[in-house]
């Protein structure tokens, strides 16, 4: 385990038991599980921005909540700066809460509609005793609002969330997290619900937080394009597993896993003269948990699938500098041009 890493995840699993009919449970004797997060391994360095890209249902949001102990992991180990945190009690974990935070997806839903902007920040300050008296609280709120770009502060102080735009609301959410001075922030689809023209502003704010406060980020999204803009490394997730991970430009320009290649092909480009791509993979394919116990979870949709893809689970293979992919067919046989 890398001692310098801010976060190390080993074999993380989060399974949800599925209810089966009474007879099936009696006859089969076991319950089948939805393996939302299935054996995830990675480590996050200081001031690094690691992206997790995948379609909805791939487990990325479940993973983020499991890391932050909003859900209890079914298995695996979570280390924060060398200390194991998944085995801590709720009380023991509280000081770590300050250091590991999340920015949520829905700017309109993440803030209590009955609280003003300043009240929302004040509540956070009070919970962790970050200021000794009211003037100190006010000063901290003012500083935070300025830092997230909500200027002039007076204009936003007494506003209720209903009166703010999506971008402004996300800035408030970011301010709420910033006030705790975290070391790890998970941005879970934090710009997906914003206008495209507003996204860059928010992403630039995340850059600022990284540079000025030394925060490491896990950036979760289904949008490869913004991931490319902000991430140092990208991990591609599919049905609870990381199928490929590596430096951003490597992943974008030399993807090795068929799923990554398909994702990249599918993204539309802001260039009217570009050729419209053909999608190499099938669309939605309903997958029951039993289908993926053996073999590669992508086999049913993969355009290159061979017979043993259904019976043998692929391992992570090194395909480049810091670049890994898990596919049985890798060894120079597939590439994209």
């Amino acid at each position: 385990m890398n001692q310098n890493a801010v976060l190390t995840i080993e074999n993380l699993k989060k399974h949800f038991p599925l209810r089966k009919g009474l007879f099936a449970a009696l006859l089969k004797g076991e319950r089948s599980h939805l393996r939302a997060v299935d054996n995830i391994n990675f480590s996050l360095g200081k001031k690094e921005i690691l992206g997790f890209v995948g379609e909805s249902g791939c487990g990325k949001s479940t993973m983020s909540r499991t890391i932050l102990q909003l859900l209890e992991p079914t298995g695996g180990k979570i280390y924060f700066k060398g200390t194991r945190v998944d085995t801590l009690s709720r009380k023991q974990f509280k000081p770590f809460r300050k250091k590991m935070q999340m920015i949520f997806q829905d700017p309109f839903g993440s803030l209590n509609p009955r609280r003003t902007v300043s009240e929302i920040l004040r509540q956070t300050i009070k919970i962790h005793n970050l200021a000794k008296d009211r003037p100190a609280e006010d000063a901290l709120i003012k500083k935070t609002l300025e830092e997230v770009g909500l200027n002039p502060v007076e204009e936003y102080w007494n506003k209720y969330p209903q009166l703010l735009s999506g971008g402004q609301l996300q800035r408030v959410s970011i301010g709420r997290v910033l006030v705790l001075q975290p070391e790890l922030v998970i941005a879970d689809e934090s710009v997906s619900m914003l206008d495209v023209s507003v996204r860059i502003g928010i992403l630039d704010l995340l850059f600022k937080m990284r540079d000025k406060h030394g925060i490491s980020f896990i950036y979760i999204t289904h949008d490869l394009v913004t991931a490319r803009y902000i991430c140092d490394r990208i991990a591609i997730m599919y049905l609870g597993n990381i199928v490929e991970i590596g430096p951003t430009e490597e992943i974008i320009n030399h993807p090795r896993h068929p799923y990554t290649q398909a994702l990249i092909t599918a993204v539309p480009v802001p260039d009217p003269t570009a050729k419209v791509p053909e999608l190499p993979i099938k669309g939605y394919v309903p997958v029951a948990p039993e289908d993926t116990i053996r073999g590669c979870s992508f086999a049913l949709r993969c355009p290159y699938g061979k017979k043993n893809c259904r019976s043998e689970k692929p391992q992570m293979i090194r395909v480049g500098d810091e670049h890994f992919a898990s596919c049985l067919l890798i060894d120079g046989s597939i590439s994209i041009d």
Binding site: L68, L70, K94, R97, K98, Q101, M102, F104, Q105, D106, G109, S110, L111, N112, P113, R114, R115, Q123, T124, I127, H128, N158, Q162, S173, R176, V177, L180
Partner: protein, 292 residues
């Protein structure tokens, strides 16, 4: 200072919206009327409502001396009507307060914690809801004896379960909202999440329930008093109806029957109108729709 100013501005805005709402306006107007009656009773040309008068003044129709006439004990019906508002309003407000607070508390805890606590509490609620309201109130009032506080107790006992249920439903859905999750992520405790985050969002529902409870309490008091289970020392509108019915002269003394009935119905309707208006106003987005 800024906080105070902001809060008064909010109050001003709320009342502006309330008066702009047609039902709200009518409701508030009528309630104000009754509140005035209750508060300024002695100044409104009244005498002691329970003081029986001269034998020559029995069952007099409305006249210049007795504005609403007299009853079969020569008591002034105008005074009875005016002072009766005190009883109805008191019982209404107090019973509603007790019901809403106890019901909300139970609903909040059951909805938030879920699992076993929820099951247990809801089975208790189910039990109470199973019992027929009116017969239960009658039996309890008969057993506990006639007094205003007993009536309040009886009404609260019978009404709190439905509030609990309704609050629990809303808490269940609020619990899943992103802002609760994000507060949990920030490190808020269960207590803070329940009372600081979820409860403020339940307040509109509490208001609506409170208004409903007021109308139910006023109605219940009227029924119980009419049946003779009310407090004989204080003449409420229900008591007036009880008396007129007992006296047997109901067909000939419209002036005795009409004031209490009209008062009860009007008061209940006005609270219903207020309830609808407040419900609408506290809905997020209403303000903007009205162009604020």
């Amino acid at each position: 200072m800024a906080q105070y100013l902001r809060k008064t501005n909010k109050a001003k805005e709320f009342f502006q919206l309330l008066f702009g709402h047609p039902m709200g306006f009518v409701g508030v107007a009528i309630i104000t009327l009754f509140l005035t009656m209750a508060l300024f009773a002695p100044l409104l040309g009244t005498v002691d409502p329970s003081a029986s008068g001269d034998v020559t003044n029995l069952l007099i129709p409305p006249s210049s001396q007795f504005w609403f006439g007299t009853d079969d004990l020569a008591r002034d019906i105008w005074s009875q009507t005016i002072y009766g508002s005190r009883i109805s309003l008191t019982i209404g407000f107090v019973a509603a307060l007790i019901t809403v607070f106890s019901g909300t508390f139970v609903g909040l805890i059951a909805g938030y914690y879920g699992k076993i606590l929820d099951e247990v509490l809801m089975r208790i609620v189910d039990f109470f809801m199973m019992l027929p309201e009116l017969p239960l109130m009658i039996v309890l009032a008969a057993v506990l004896g006639p007094s205003m506080w007993n009536i309040i107790l009886v009404v609260s006992l019978v009404s709190w379960p439905s509030t609990a249920r309704v609050v629990r439903s809303q808490v269940l859905s609020l619990k899943e909202r992103p802002f609760v999750e994000s507060s949990r992520c920030i490190g808020a405790s269960n207590f803070q999440l329940m009372f600081s985050e979820i409860l403020p969002n339940v307040v509109p529902l509490m208001f609506a329930q409170a208004v409903l409870m007021i109308t139910e309490a006023i109605y219940a008091e009227a029924v119980l008093s009419f049946l003779g289970l009310g407090d004989p020392t204080s003449i409420s509108w229900g008591m007036m109806l009880h008396s007129v019915f007992e006296s047997g002269v109901i067909a000939e003394s419209y002036w005795w029957v009409v004031p209490p009935i009209v008062s009860i119905v009007t008061l209940i309707v006005s609270f219903s109108l207020l309830g609808t208006a407040v419900s609408d106003i506290l809905e997020p987005g209403y303000k903007e729709k009205k162009g604020f």
